[in-house]
Amino acid sequence: MPLAALRRWLIVGVLVAVVAALPWAVGRIPAGSGNLSAQDLVQRIESSADQPYSGYAESAGGLILPITDSFSEIADLFGDRTKMRVWYVSPTASRVDAIGYTGETDVYTDAKGTWTWDYEAEEATRSLSTTAAVAIPTPADLLPPAVARRVLSNAAAADLTTLPAERIAGRSAAGVRLTPSDPAATVKRVDVWADEATGVALRVVIYGADANSALDTAFLDIDLSAPDSGLLTFAPPPNAQVQTDNGDLIGRLQQRGGVDALTLPDSLAGFPRTGDGGFSSVGVYGDTVTSFVAIYLPNRFSGSLRDTLRDAPTTVVEDVGLSTTSGPISALLADTGGRSRWLLVGTVTVETLVTASSSLLPLGTGR
């Protein structure tokens, strides 16, 4: 090959190398030193709820959840990639858009509740605030700050270690690792990186027993200044269907069948009851990342869930019903064919759920 031609192709080679190496080089910009201790960083993350921000985040879920068609959106959230634009001022003033190629679902939160705009359904839904501790997860629950505050709340100091700082969304982020020590825990570790100055979590990765992450959520762009308040208000467009919804999981279950007053135990399988969401038929047991919820199921709903579970390849038949696991999530539909049916779901072992169900099955009214 003549020298001139060789020189020309060399220019092409250098250009390709520069272009290919550019993203890699940007990723190698060193992060800060991360001087905060693990406990101090966790404290800063927990007190960051009023720090405004806006940006773009993506979450990738690795869970395959056997859920009935009525709640397929939950399976999508935890088993798929969710792309989110967010504008956040405070817990009662925010907007999260879950975007797709051909549409988006936006949730505006204000002091009275939420507006949900679903472009694909041409539907605007007003939900008034509930105090429910158990609610249908939404994309907003997958944002790194929300996940970090949830998993790190009440974390024991002994379970926390410092991670090296990383650059995330163009910012230097200090890291902390939570390694739950409870033998019943199915979450083996949670890695969190947060903006050192404000405590806004920028990335959270949750691992179960295997090496693949069960959930990886991170900002790709973030701006820590207050967003324009005009972006946080919503008015339904003309021609859209407008409806109201009570928005909480128990409300949806109640619509499907009657739930009578029940008295749940103060502790199950050694886990104290930490919430009920205002419903006697619901119990939240444990806290931080090692917890589970017990829900009494009306007749109609438990039947369809049992059928779905029975068809799932990971389902195991237990003495007290059907159990399944996906990553760190365990679920048990406790149903001995009698009058009482309970759904237990959480980040604890199936054995723990089976033990807990033995105290629940004698309860219930059989409606």
Binding site: R8, L15, T102, D106, P237, N239
Partner: protein
Amino acid sequence: MIAVELLKLLRRPRTWATILLLDALPTLVAALLAFTDLAPRPGEGPVFLSAVLNNGSLFPLAALAIVLPLFLPIAVAVVAGESIAGEAQAGTLRYLLVRPVGRTTLLVAKLISVIVFVLIAVVVVAATAYVVGVSLFGVGSFEATTVSGTVLTPSQIFGRTLLAIGYVTLSMLGVAAIALFLSTLSDSPLAAALGAMAFLIASSLLLTLDAANVLAPYLPTRYWLSFVDLFRDPIRWRDITRGIGLQAVYVGVFLTAAWANFTSKDITT
């Protein structure tokens, strides 16, 4: 040189036949919608097609979404693939280079004529779709709802449609550069066009695989449909700027490769 290439492009019946064929599909879709009154729901079918029954002025966007994934890139690959290889196959390349113009200038002139072709094709498709859309569906209240549920005024619809036309045009530059490079490698325009299409099909396929996520930001079709982001509120510039940047990289790399090959090549035909 550029003017000569542009005149050649505009005088060629094939150019207009290609644009006419590009126009035919959206027009057929509009006629079927008007005849049956059956529009897909939002989020189903091509973007914005659901809204055209209420506002025909949105049909240019739906028309772009109809031609963008396949027909427009095929047309661009055919025109760009023919640019050098077509001259070689017809035996005119040697005579073309006898003129006192450099090979680099010829390459740039060919690329510019392909860009002009893309712009004409996109504008003609959009303009025809506007006329067809407004004639068949009317314009309703003259307003349209964005993907985010806010309302756009007619001037906002017009402005954002112009931006979408510009973005779709830029999105085709990568295909044009790839086909132009292949056109310098082969004497067969068909081989160059099919090579470029193979590249695009591979890109579209890889985008559907989670395992190929690491490659996604480099794939030429990655940001093609991001013109939808112009119709969110506020406009989402993130993918649009990345899409433009990616096309610039493809043009830079493949045009340089085309230059390296074409200026070093023995021209025998």
